[in-house]
Assembly symmetry: C2
Homo-oligomer: 252 residues x 2
């Protein structure tokens, strides 16, 4: 069972939720299972206001954070977990079945990391761009005929799983995305690194304009797959800053 301080190391992040009832349902599931930290990214202003002012809205909804972008919401996270159906896309990140997620999350918070569980908007789910900010994807084992879950129910199922499982045994499934030996660098450090690498590729002529967006995406995915720790990230950043400076100030 997760302790309260474990739960405090976990953020629930809702990206552009549309339906105020779903926002309320997500908050209620958090209260049911003892999670308190909610961030809402780029909500539809009117619906967000409506959800927060609903009668009986839990305290955590009123104290929720609001971010303009997913990048901003994840700035302090060391493990970002994207949720969604992978039926229709080929994932670029390691996929962890939900029944195998708890030990991974627990290990991360036990060593002082911050975990974000990221849920997409009702209709379309998280985009490929959103997923590029996630270290792993969690898959709720739904049926192929009806893979897509209601947002409030998906949040409830994920939090139930995290709240109740200690060392789950999930037979017949290999647990992908095993623990890296260190704490990942926070997302803000990776974003800065990705930005500087992107500028370097452009300055070097590696990344012509039509390819720039694709390359930036690939860098975000790669940096997370590598599980860089903070020292790694600083070191690599120093290297690329030096290269970039040299490209911008060529010796005569």
């Amino acid at each position: 069972m997760l302790t309260q301080s474990d739960r405090d190391g976990i953020d629930v992040v809702l990206v552009s939720p549309r339906n105020p009832l779903n926002i309320g349902a997500a908050a209620r599931a958090m209260a049911n299972f003892g999670f308190a930290r909610l961030t809402v990214v780029a909500p539809f202003a009117e619906h967000w206001r409506e959800a927060r002012s609903a009668i009986g809205a839990p305290e955590l909804l009123r104290s929720a954070k609001e971010s303009l972008t997913l990048t901003e919401a994840l700035a302090g996270s060391t493990l970002a977990v994207g949720t969604g159906s992978i039926a229709t896309r080929k994932p670029e990140q390691p996929v962890v079945p939900l029944p195998a997620l708890a030990p991974r999350v627990e290990a991360e918070v036990d060593r002082g990391g911050r975990v974000a569980l990221v849920f997409g908007p009702e209709k379309r789910g998280l985009t490929r761009e959103d997923f590029s900010r996630c270290h792993i994807l969690v898959e709720i084992p739904t049926r192929a005929e009806q893979p897509s879950m209601n947002l409030g129910q998906a949040v409830a199922v994920c939090l139930y799983e995290l709240a109740t499982r200690i060392h789950p045994v999930y037979e017949g499934q290999t647990v992908l995305g095993s623990d890296p030996p260190h704490l990942n660098a926070p997302a803000a450090a990776l974003d800065l690194l990705a930005e500087v690498i992107g500028q370097t590729l452009t300055a070097s002529g590696y990344s012509p304009e039509p390819m720039a967006a694709t390359n930036r995406h690939d860098i975000q995915v790669l940096l997370r797959r590598l599980s860089l720790d903070s020292a790694d990230a600083r070191r690599v950043l120093g290297v690329f800053r030096r290269i970039l400076y040299r490209l911008q100030h060529p010796r005569r």
Copy 2:
């Protein structure tokens, strides 16, 4: 993982649901996790019509059964599992934590039983009378500060648990309500038996009118706690019919 024939041995029973959105959400969770058999007991007619005719309502909602009473809905069930918060009442039935439910349900369907998962109405949950028709109570491990779950979310969490757990390890919890060595008698047989025993108590003067309802309730609870099989139920029924006949036709 439950097989499809396992899932076909499980009924979801919603008692007097009020909100059409919750009925729809329950049906969607069933479709997500591959359950097809839905029974709705004494629904509010208008809301039930609305839920069934909603755009995108899953097929299982259109083919759902409707019962007037919970007793009728459970007639063919050999294991009725009540859901709800036990925070505010002292349960008369064995309580099984949700993370320990799957093996109990699986064993029952494996030997040909029929399991019903029973959910109460949104505001008040199942009544003590409803619970008297259940063999065990399942407890979703929610927090004391906010124990009550949204109906659609409670259904989703229970079905997720059943769909994904084979031999769950749930440490630090004793599994109550261990498997009886035989299949329980179906509820209809127990209801008939309870009725005849009740008449017998009245005819014998054991059960004066003011106590009759309480005694009937206690009999329902007792019969389920005893885990009578069909042969037991027939035998006991024969005994009480004989006694009742003799009470009604005393020898001179």
